[in-house]
Subunit: 577 residues, 2 copies
């Protein structure tokens, strides 16, 4: 029988609670968003005592299903001021589920401001003082925790950025090799440090595991899904070989690769920071010192991660994802993959979202703080974030704050959150998702790039401005996937292969003893997005927040020289009714 | 026949236009807000090319009426994101009116980013390169302009903060002695520098003057008003003797003087930074080196300004107002009047709003950047603003941005604008005005402190939570006064003496050939506020923006130990219907 673990930082208590009936079929984002909407006052200060941070594995989390290790983190975002869910891979989500915990709800605020560690195992949960972990980067934190706790536990933690309450701080989850690079990065949820919680240590040894209500339905569903993943070339070949950074060259070709603070959609140095180059460096140039086809947790059958080596062959960072490569590479005008790797490593250590950090450095570059293309300069800026200098505080406050501080009007953000790696002037559907997702600018909230550029899930003209229905459908399906605990990378297969989607839906509903159709799944996703938007409305969001930055409406983007010309009416049609 | 002067910074043109009929009876805030609402897209970037900045004297501006020198500055605020009007005394407003100009509308953006000076005289208007004025502080700018232009012109200008597009930048207007200390300070309108305009030089020699439609009505009205000003003890005695800082001791006594970032309503060092002490230092301790009863322009009969001397008797700054004294004094825990004077002088020179700057330094003090009470430390912070260092950029970005950068949740601001010198937990009506004014936290938008603490315009319990009607009435009357060009200080007299109010209304309507009653005036004010709120709605504001910061609802304020307990329903009732 699963429980919700309620952690009160004001009283320093951690108690299991019965799962309310309405939460029983939920998991992941579906559960974090519902709990946040039910329990958090929408107008509270995100860093004050009345916000809550919720951690939840997906419905299939902890089972034997493939690629089901996503851990959702939710709360009111310090970055957007709205509801937020970000999810990560790594090993902690599975372990939480196998301990029979559907969600960990962290509330209140440590009265003395001191940092704590929450230890969760088969015997229960307890809060300990963080001691010497305070102030440390995530590489050292993960290492020390594995030294001090048995059974190679899952570690969820925040770096110095989160401790300093920076609104670009993410939440780290460790991977199989205990690296900290799996991040629920977006929306500043790492500012959970404001509650006084440095890390959660999850040891699932001897845990009860996850009860699957309909074992046969589950077996059938997971097989269909695994078959689709094995069949589709993106999940079976592109991602394992080149990682998500396979997109660098593809999106550059499409003219939508944000370059030098979104002033061009094509970067002359793209190939140098591409997935193909990561593969080349990791497996050939540096004589196999790195890895591709690297899983972020044991049950992954796609393995889109990589291990990037230093020139001397030693470990540098895992993983360089497309979004990180774009943000620190083209968007900063940097074509040096070693510099990008170091920027990713620093982000993982300090505990900031790579997308927000890169986009913010690019805004600072536009202001002339350091020149575009200056890798060492960008590294210095991130190091200042870690030290909490005034300049570091500006960078750590995200792209909008940096734009304000430096007087830059060209800030690529929606609802206060910086845009991911697709310029919406060249790929209009993703712009519709950026504008209208309750999450702020977020490609994972409705990845219309699949049909618009990649020819997956249909084939749609990226310049066509009628994208409300497309974005709506993707947003709903994505919200469902985020509920399951399945990795969004599996989504490439299920978008293309109908039986894969049936398998994803079927295996999920089998866990909770339901028999959902794909239509049920989309309806459930729609309901989750609606719950999130209602929270945002209570927090003060209006249609004016469902818009892209003004400069994208009048500044044409090379090489196609198009502006973002989707009408406000089209944007408002996404969630109408 | 008056004209509107339209200045296009993109094309570098300045052309007079016929005044549309609907604007003929408007002036001041009534005119700036109407033009902004009519011409500025509500969702534009405040520092982008589509915002406009409008300068307008009041309806009685340029006439022989007493205290009619207010100059309104309006636009979309870079600080609040909503519509903004701030007004200042000094000599420029009168001169603009006497040149037959009802408003100067500045639009577009200098394409080369270079700064310009707009020269306006009887022969027309022209744009010149700012040359060596760029980067200079306002003391030097005013001095150089009087050296270079004849007839001691009015000067409207921005300091380095505005040039750097800092959102706490104000707009300076020079006074009789060519000091820059009269500021349309609030809301970041000094970021007009984003348009490429450093200063406006206004020479009214040989100008046509202002036509008064009904001379006899005007004579009668101004006499009634002047009589009321002469009769009321605040306008005839308190203000001339002690300036607005007479409020330091009064509000301290009431327990509403914001101290150490709004953590107490009483400051043990209040008397040391009070209006009484300013008088003592200026007229006695430093042997008459300073002045009280100092007018900010020739037609003032109240003379609430002062000239504060240095210990050696030389000129230090004019004027130390109550709001500046609170912000740099009690709110920063500073009881050293010379330090406060230097902070005001620096603000005037750099070109930042003293309220926002002081409140922001107090937030930084709470974060431990410098200790509370550290006058030299606060001065160093402001100097960093002037130099545009990273720390200076944080401080120059205002209290909300500093709170975000430093992780401080106790930020006293509404709609992004820092609170003036009255803690709303001890004086609830002003809290209702802070919450619901379209301007953000602004005491001048509806000064319910008059009846709540000063016993002017009625006598109301400051702790009573039913203040919607009171605030509504004050907001409407204030919007009318801001239309007239009369100084709000005259409002003390007209709130108390009915014939004074009749005189204010009668003299204003006489200028434009109308015969407004007091009821007409209030209706006109109501309409202006409605226009402003409609703009804000289009910009994305909702009821959630009409709220005080969360911490004031759960953190009791000493010495009365009360929270802000006005209900959301009461707040929403202010502008209902």
């Amino acid at each position: 029988m699963s429980r919700i673990l309620r952690v009160n930082m004001t009283n320093l208590t951690a108690q299991p609670e019965v799962v309310p009936e309405k939460y029983e079929t939920l998991g992941g984002r579906g559960l974090t968003s519902t709990i946040v909407a039910d329990e958090v006052p929408a107008t509270c200060h995100p860093l004050g005592p009345n916000n809550k941070v919720v951690f939840a594995p997906g419905v299939v989390g902890g089972t034997s299903a493939p690629n089901c290790g996503r851990l959702s983190v939710g709360g009111k975002s310090p970055l957007t001021g709205g509801i937020k869910e970000a999810n990560a891979g790594g090993i902690a989500g599975q372990k939480i589920a196998r301990l029979g915990i559907k969600a960990i709800v962290v509330e209140g605020q440590a009265p003395d401001g001191k940092l704590h560690v929450l230890r969760v195992d088969k015997n229960g949960a307890s809060l300990l003082r963080a001691g010497d972990l305070a102030g440390k980067g995530m590489y050292e934190v993960d290492t020390l925790i594995w030294q001090r706790y048995p059974n190679k536990p899952g570690v969820i933690g925040i770096g110095p950025a989160g401790e300093m309450r920076m609104v670009s701080a993410g939440v780290s989850v460790n991977d199989e090799e205990n690296g900290p690079g799996r991040y629920a990065g977006r929306g500043g949820l790492g500012a959970v440090g404001a509650k006084g919680l440095k890390a959660i240590v999850v040891d699932d040894a001897g845990g009860p595991g996850v009860t699957v209500a309909d074992a046969e339905g589950f077996r059938l569903g997971t097989k269909k899904l695994a078959d689709a993943i094995a069949e589709h070339p993106i999940t079976s070949s592109s991602l394992p070989n080149y990682g998500t950074a396979v997109l660098v060259n593809l999106i550059n070709e499409a003219g939508g690769l944000p370059t030098r603070n979104f002033s061009s959609g094509r970067f002359e140095g793209a190939a140098k920071v591409s997935g193909e180059m990561i593969n080349e460096v990791a497996t050939k140039i540096r004589k196999g010192a790195g890895r591709v086809s690297h899983p972020c947790h044991a049950d992954c059958i796609i393995k889109c991660s990589n291990v990037y080596p230093k020139p001397d062959g030693s470990y540098h960072v895992s993983a360089i994802e497309y979004e990180s490569a774009y943000a620190f590479g083209p968007d900063c005008g940097i074509d040096d993959l070693d510099a990008v790797a170091e920027l990713v490593r620093l982000s993982n250590d300090i505990g900031v979202d790579t997308i927000e950090a890169g986009a913010t450095i690019a805004v600072a570059m536009e202001a002339g703080v350091v020149p575009f293309g200056d890798g060492p300069g960008a590294i210095r800026l991130l190091e200042e974030v870690g030290r909490g200098t005034p300049l570091g505080r500006i960078i750590g406050s995200g792209a909008v704050a940096a734009g304000r501080a430096f007087g830059v009007t060209r800030v690529p953000a929606v609802k206060g959150q910086a845009m991911p790696a697709y310029d919406p002037r060249a790929i209009k559907g993703i712009g519709v998702t950026y504008a209208t997702s309750p999450m702020g600018a977020d490609h994972t909230a409705g990845y219309t790039v699949a049909p618009e550029v990649l020819g997956v899930g249909g084939k749609v003209d990226p310049f066509d401005v009628s994208k409300a229905e497309l974005s709506r459908n993707f947003q709903a399906l994505t919200a469902f996937i985020d509920l399951t605990g399945y990795c969004l990378m599996a989504g490439f297969a299920v978008m293309y292969i109908a039986s894969g989607l049936e398998g994803m839906v079927g295996s999920t509903s089998a866990v909770v003893g339901k028999n959902w159709t794909v239509e049920d799944a989309v309806n459930l996703g729609t309901q989750i997005v609606r719950t999130e938007r209602e929270f945002n409305e209570r927090a003060g969001f209006t249609k004016a927040d469902d818009r892209l930055p003004e400069f994208m409406k009048y500044e044409p983007l090379p090489p196609h020289n198009t502006v973002f010309d989707v009408s406000d009416e089209e944007l408002d049609a996404v969630h109408a009714g």
